[in-house]
């Protein structure tokens, strides 16, 4: 029994290899990119629009609102990264309903790669928003004594993200595989349905945590000013 699709190697040339994780990822990328292209090929700016356009608009707008609710001011700037994170993980996890499919997120290499992307994106957005000094200064808050702890926190949360997603997805697949061997067919179906829910929750958790980390890195130091209500003039 394979623990991850990394072990399913199709082609190898020294260090370079094409395994199941990469193949399933490419398939997902193809589906997402081609699907988006097909739907957005005939976009309507009028009231009447297709169901697929409605669906994509709902998804994109919902992701943008979620990003804004977390505290990121310009949602459009983070939509590409955070939205893709959520869509990729969600699509990878929802694909488990297809027989023979192994989610790339069940591979620690994939989750580690995603966590590394977040690990790099946090200082990237932080420096872009607050400048290098401002961002580095955030490691000394609330006191310089916290610097080692902040660095450890930065590393550990990246590791936690990778392992959390991997563990959940791998365990779900493993449990279904085990149940298929020892229980009637009903239980694996129930567990697959539960796995869909778990996959969506994990996609949500991963992207939300990423947004929170980026928001924490881009948020200016000190207490946030209390917004004063602006009197309506109309």
């Amino acid at each position: 029994m394979r623990l991850s699709s990394d072990e399913l190697v199709f082609w190898r040339h020294g260090f370079i290899k094409v395994n199941g994780t990469l193949v399933y990822t490419w398939a997902l990328m193809l589906v997402l990119a081609v699907g988006s292209k097909l739907v957005t090929r005939k976009l309507s700016a009028h009231q009447e629009r297709s169901r697929w356009q409605n669906l994509l608009e709902m998804i994109v707008i919902a992701i943008g609102k979620q990003i804004e609710e977390i505290g990121l001011r310009d949602a459009g700037k983070y939509l590409g990264f955070l939205g893709t994170l959520f869509l990729f993980i969600a699509a990878a996890n929802l694909g488990t309903v297809i027989p023979g499919y192994e989610p790339p997120t069940g591979s620690l290499s994939t989750t580690a790669a995603l966590a590394l992307c977040v690990f790099i994106a946090v200082p990237f957005y932080g420096i872009a928003d607050r400048g290098l000094g401002g961002y580095l200064k955030s490691y000394l808050e609330p006191t310089p004594i916290m610097l080692p702890l902040n660095i450890i926190s930065e590393l550990s949360r990246t590791l936690a993200m990778a392992v959390r997603l991997f563990g959940n997805m791998m365990s779900g697949t493993m449990i279904i595989a085990i149940l298929l061997t020892i229980t009637p067919f009903l239980f694996p179906i129930v567990m697959t349905a539960l796995g869909l829910l778990t996959g969506m929750v994990q996609a949500y958790i991963f992207s939300i945590l990423s947004a929170v980390y980026i928001a924490a890195a881009t948020r200016p130091a000190g207490p946030e000013p209390i917004p004063t209500p602006i009197p309506r003039t109309d």
């Binding site: 990328m29 997402l32 990119a33 356009q53 939205g83 290499s109 994939t110 992307c117």
Partner: protein, 256 residues
């Protein structure tokens, strides 16, 4: 080993490529479409607001015009009513005046007709009376009416009292050939009555008095002598007066 570092790197690259692909094919077109639609809706709402405000403005304007029109119509109706009333009164007064004028004209015409009738009756009566009298005198006494009138005239001269007679004689004597005493009669007197009158006048004045005989149709049957403001006359006008009075009464009754 659970982590394959080549796969980690490849997946990170795959993820970044996917970010670019989705940005290119999903987020940008979708957000652009949403923005375009929002702008379109905002423009439509702005247009609708503008149309609404314009409609409200036009409604207010129409209402004001309607009220002004109603007020103007009421004023016009009132003025027309007053004008119609005044015109009616004027026409009524005019008609009344015309009726009065017609009535007066009719009265005048009636009066004129009555006067004409009266004159015609008088004339006809006179002619008839004289015709009857002449015929009666001629039939009964074989004497002409003129002769009989001359006799009556002469008798009147004789019946004058003394004072009157002397004053009259004085007046007669003042006459001359140039200014003879005028004897007027309704018709030309024949020679015999003229001679009788000449003789009576000469007798009354004890002198030869020149006389000038003249026919006067308005004298209504009779003889009149005028000398120096003195006048001796007889005619049948007094007889005709009673007849005229009764005829006037009859004609007035007919007019009323």
């Amino acid at each position: 080993m659970l982590i394959d570092w080549f796969t980690v790197g490849a997946q990170a690259g795959n993820f970044l490529i996917l970010v670019w692909l989705l940005k290119r094919f999903l987020y940008k077109p979708i957000l652009a479409a949403v923005d375009t639609r929002e702008k379109r809706i905002a423009a439509a709402i702005a247009d609708a607001e503008a149309g609404k405000s314009l409609a409200q403005k036009e409604r207010d304007e129409f209402r004001n015009k309607n009220e002004a029109f109603a007020a103007e119509r009421a004023a016009l109706f009132a003025r027309a009513g007053e004008e119609a009333k005044a015109e009616g009164a004027r026409l009524l007064a005019e008609a009344r005046g015309a009726a009065d004028a017609l009535s007066a004209k009719r009265g005048e015409t009636l009066k004129r007709d009555a006067a004409n009738l009266h004159q015609a009756i008088v004339r006809r009566t006179r002619q008839e009376v004289f015709a009857v009298a002449r015929k009666a005198l001629a039939d009964l006494a074989a004497v002409g009416l003129e002769e009989r009138m001359a006799e009556v005239f002469i008798r009147r001269l004789g019946e004058m009292d003394g004072a009157s007679k002397s004053v009259f004689a004085e007046g007669l004597r003042s006459a001359s050939v140039a200014t003879p005493v005028l004897v007027r009669s309704a018709f030309d007197l024949p020679a015999a009555p003229r001679a009788a009158i000449q003789q009576a006048v000469n007798g009354a004045s004890a002198a030869e008095i020149p006389l000038r005989f003249e026919a006067a149709p308005d004298l209504v049957g009779g003889i009149e002598l005028t000398a120096n403001g003195q006048k001796v006359a007889w005619s049948i006008s007094e007889y005709l007066a009673s007849l005229e009075k009764s005829i006037v009464e009859v004609s007035d009754g007919a007019v009323a």
